[in-house]
């Protein structure tokens, strides 16, 4: 059978810096094709070239048997390519329905949008994903996960020949991932091809047929999933020998079960509104406490309440035994608390500022010397962190928006580590980060607690929670409902704890 899509010899430079040197990709009709590579390998760029968002410098693209010169996402859409981009690309102010049907609204009289039909269709599509929500409400009033699912729903509803998913699961929890897989299989069985980008290699083995591996802007291989192993893939991505990697071992980071006695943070029946109605936990020096929960369970709100982002309506926070009432993040930072946000784009990076400026943003007050910023020390600090965290940037004055997602995340982590916090709150710290970097980040977190600090870890990846946390506080509908402690922390236990509360409430 002729391939649905062939891309060969694709090259792309951004202002002289090559992002793609020689990329190629071939997708058969009706296959689920994975695209993997380290952060910055060029996956997203390749996709954007395919959908016409970027123009390629060189190379051939053939789609559905004809050479393709798409110059806009719109053209790609009508050619039969539906895309879920890595950065959410919906319009939060507009309703869920609009976000789903825009571009192909049902009409009456040929020009008037038939809203009842649009809502019905949206509900129907979303119900395939197990989502029952008010589709007339603004999309932005829902969680990232729901927004992600809506984006997927939109793409899936488009009758495309090829659906591209750039890290669709990065903000989903396991049950939603399952739903997504169901949908992907459905697409496949109806002959639609899927291009699937993910850093979760396990996922690939569940749903993909073939995998293309990219490294440094080049396509370095394409395998049948059945003929490969996770280790192989990692080796190919990193450009190293599989044995070597095995020898190093991607060591498990299971938290010790040491006794923690010094309480640094005590959260007592804290509420900030309907999304966080009763939250209690304690955090000890040297401990990683995980927050487990389904989407919308209020984990992010819990973190925000500690960081002074949402004013408390009731309850108390105690920091090192003293009552603590931060009204602004700056107060929390002064109290040596740090908070890595889950929404990198909206709340994390300042896109036009350089890596250097982004990295030191939370640290400025301590860089003050003679009324101005001590630039020497700033540079030292920044190069130190770039080295320590292995941040891939051409120089420290490169605008952060030009970095790949994973590297942006590392810069943000560095921003907080640089403030030398006692308590580090991490909301989905490894979202969109490649396996190598993920291990690195996890190692950094581990070192950090070993130095006697404490971490609150929010993650929708059960594996990450279970491996990393010394204790897990389970949240449900804005309340902390139970706690898992070592040695009782297993994925099963966590799933059971969640399911228990899920069943308990209608």
């Amino acid at each position: 059978m002729a391939p649905l899509l062939t891309m060969t010899g694709i090259k792309k430079h951004f202002g002289g810096v090559p992002a793609l040197r020689d990329a190629s990709l071939e997708i058969e009709p009706g296959e689920v094709h994975a695209l993997i590579g380290q952060n910055g390998a060029g996956k997203s760029t390749l996709i954007k070239i395919l959908t016409g968002l970027y123009r390629r410098d060189e190379g051939e693209v053939e789609f559905a048997g004809a050479p393709s010169h798409l110059s806009s996402p719109r053209g790609a859409q009508s050619a039969g390519i539906a895309t879920i981009y890595q950065e959410l690309n919906l319009v939060p102010l507009r309703s869920v329905s609009e976000n789903v049907v825009m571009g192909q609204e049902p009409k009456s009289f040929g020009f008037m949008i038939n809203w009842p039909e649009a809502h019905r269709r949206t509900r129907e599509i979303l119900s395939r994903f197990g989502i029952e929500i008010d589709v007339t409400a603004p999309l932005g009033s829902y969680s990232t996960a729901i927004q992600q699912l809506v984006a997927i729903a939109r793409a899936v509803s488009m009758d495309a020949k090829l659906v591209i998913m750039d890290e669709p699961t990065s903000s989903l929890d396991s049950s939603e991932v399952e739903i997504l897989f169901g949908v992907v299989r459905e697409l496949k069985s109806s002959g639609v091809s899927v291009l699937y980008v993910s850093h979760f290699l396990d996922e690939l083995f569940q749903i993909c047929d073939r995998v293309t591996i990219m490294r440094d802007g080049k396509t370095v291989g394409c395998r049948e999933i059945a003929d490969t192993t996770k280790l192989d893939l990692i080796a190919a991505m990193l450009g190293r020998n599989a044995d070597e990697i095995e020898a190093e071992g991607l060591t498990e980071l299971a938290g010790g079960s040491a006794a923690f006695d010094e309480v640094v943070l005590d959260v007592d029946h804290v509420a900030t509104g309907p999304r966080l109605s009763e939250f209690s936990m304690s955090l000890h020096r040297g401990e990683i406490v995980g927050l487990g929960g389904l989407l919308g369970s209020g984990r992010t709100e819990a973190a925000r309440s500690i960081f002074g982002l949402d004013p408390l309506t009731s309850g108390t926070l105690r920091l090192n035994g003293r009552e603590f009432k931060p009204a602004e993040p700056s107060e929390a930072i002064r109290a040596r608390i740090a908070f890595l946000t889950e929404d990198r784009k909206a709340e994390g990076i300042v896109p036009d500022m350089s890596v250097r400026e982004n990295l030191t943003l939370a640290l400025l007050p301590s860089l003050r010397r003679n009324g101005q910023i001590d630039r020497e020390r700033e540079k030292e600090l920044v190069s130190e962190f770039i080295r320590k965290l292995g941040i891939k940037t051409s120089h420290m004055d490169q605008p952060i928006r030009e970095l790949s997602g994973g590297n942006q995340q590392k810069v943000l982590l560095a921003r907080w580590l640089a403030t030398k916090p006692d308590i580090l709150i991490l909301d989905e710290p490894t979202r969109g980060v490649d396996v190598g970097a993920k291990r690195e980040i996890q190692a950094i977190i581990r070192t950090f607690v070993d130095e006697g600090h404490a971490v609150i870890l929010i993650s929708s990846e059960f594996e990450e929670l279970v491996e990393g946390a010394n204790r897990i506080v389970v949240m449900h509908e804005g309340k902390s409902v139970s706690e898992l402690t070592n040695p009782g922390i297993t994925e099963n236990a966590l799933v059971r704890a969640l399911a228990h509360h899920e069943d308990a409430t209608p």
């Binding site: 202002g15 700056s330 990076i349």
Partner: protein
């Protein structure tokens, strides 16, 4: 627009360098044109005249640049000029001012600036605390600020003769107008503030991504209020200069339409209306370009109505060059 348009960062070095200096090139073209066409252009007096006229626009444009850097805009600058300009003569012409000329003079410089500061606080608080969109927030003082100035003076033109005060507008140092030196000093100070201080860094961060700046502990409200206050105080200063040159304060006309000139100067100088950039010397360059355009058209007898069209075309061209550079 970053993701969609960054595509265009791809340019040969040559053109991108050309565009980096778009403003300077525009300036060079205007200068050459004037040297060839405008009678007596190469004359120190011409330079002095232009400096004295550009100073007020430049001073206000620098303040505007800071506000624009936060992603805001300040329509009230002209009204604040009128207000501070109206207060100064009220003070030194008052009984107190006549009885104690020195104190009166100092008060006549300080109080108007203080009033301007209050206006800036008002704007800044509405924008940052009440979260009202800047155009509308500053529209309030745009409408009523001038009204307050006129209420204070009963609408009357206040004329005076006070050489000490008038030094602000007519004094010369090394043969060049005092207000030109003043503008230069302010530019250096603000350049330092923007590029070297923590306030400046936060300012740019807030314009670049306000939520991120807040999460990183940035004092968002304080910095925004600060930007509006600086802008207002500089406008107040410009208002005093205008009054000083004319030896008269006309609350109805002082600073009229200044907001448009200042915004145009800031943008021609490279400020991005969505925030995140604060090119202080760019603002001066923008002000100089606008001033020279005005001068060129006037000196060559171009009719007012045609001059408007020419001004429009030049603003478009200058910003087009600037804009192409951005992406």
């Amino acid at each position: 627009m970053t993701t969609v348009t960054s595509e265009e960062t791809m340019r040969t070095d040559y053109t991108s360098r050309l565009k980096d200096h778009g403003g300077l090139i525009a300036l060079a073209i205007i200068l050459v044109f004037n040297i060839l066409v405008t009678p007596n252009f190469l004359h120190t007096q011409t330079l002095a005249v232009n400096i004295s006229q550009v100073a007020t626009i430049a001073i206000v444009a620098m303040g505007m640049t800071l506000v624009i850097a936060t992603g805001g805009i300040d329509l009230s600058v002209g009204a604040v000029m009128a207000l501070s300009g109206a207060l100064a003569p009220l003070i030194f012409l008052s009984d107190f001012g006549q009885a104690y000329p020195v104190l009166g003079l100092i008060a006549a410089l300080l109080f108007p600036l203080l009033a301007a500061l209050v206006c800036g606080m008002f704007n800044g608080i509405i924008v940052s605390v009440l979260k009202v969109q800047p155009i509308i927030a500053t529209l309030i003082l745009f409408i009523s600020g001038r009204g307050i100035a006129q209420v204070l003076t009963n609408g009357n033109l206040q004329t005076f003769s006070n050489p000490e005060f008038s030094y602000l507008g007519t004094g010369k140092i090394l043969g060049f107008p005092f207000q030109g030196w003043l503008a230069l000093a302010i530019a250096c100070l603000l350049f330092w503030v923007v590029n070297r201080t923590i306030f400046g860094r936060y300012l740019l961060a807030i314009g670049g991504n306000e939520r991120a700046a807040r999460l990183a502990g940035g004092p968002v409200r304080g910095v925004k209020i600060g930007a509006y206050v600086i802008c207002s105080v500089l406008s107040g200063l410009a208002g005093l200069i205008v009054v000083a040159i004319n030896s008269a304060s006309d609350a109805a006309r002082n600073g009229n339409l200044m907001e448009l000139d200042a915004i145009a100067a800031a943008v021609v100088g490279g400020a991005l209306l969505q925030g995140g950039k604060a090119p202080i010397f760019g603002a001066i360059l923008g002000a100089v370009i606008i001033q020279l355009v005005k001068y060129t058209l006037l000196a060559n007898g171009v009719e007012d109505e045609v001059a408007l069209i020419a001004k429009a075309a030049i603003i478009l061209a200058a910003v087009y060059i600037q804009q192409a550079r951005k992406e």
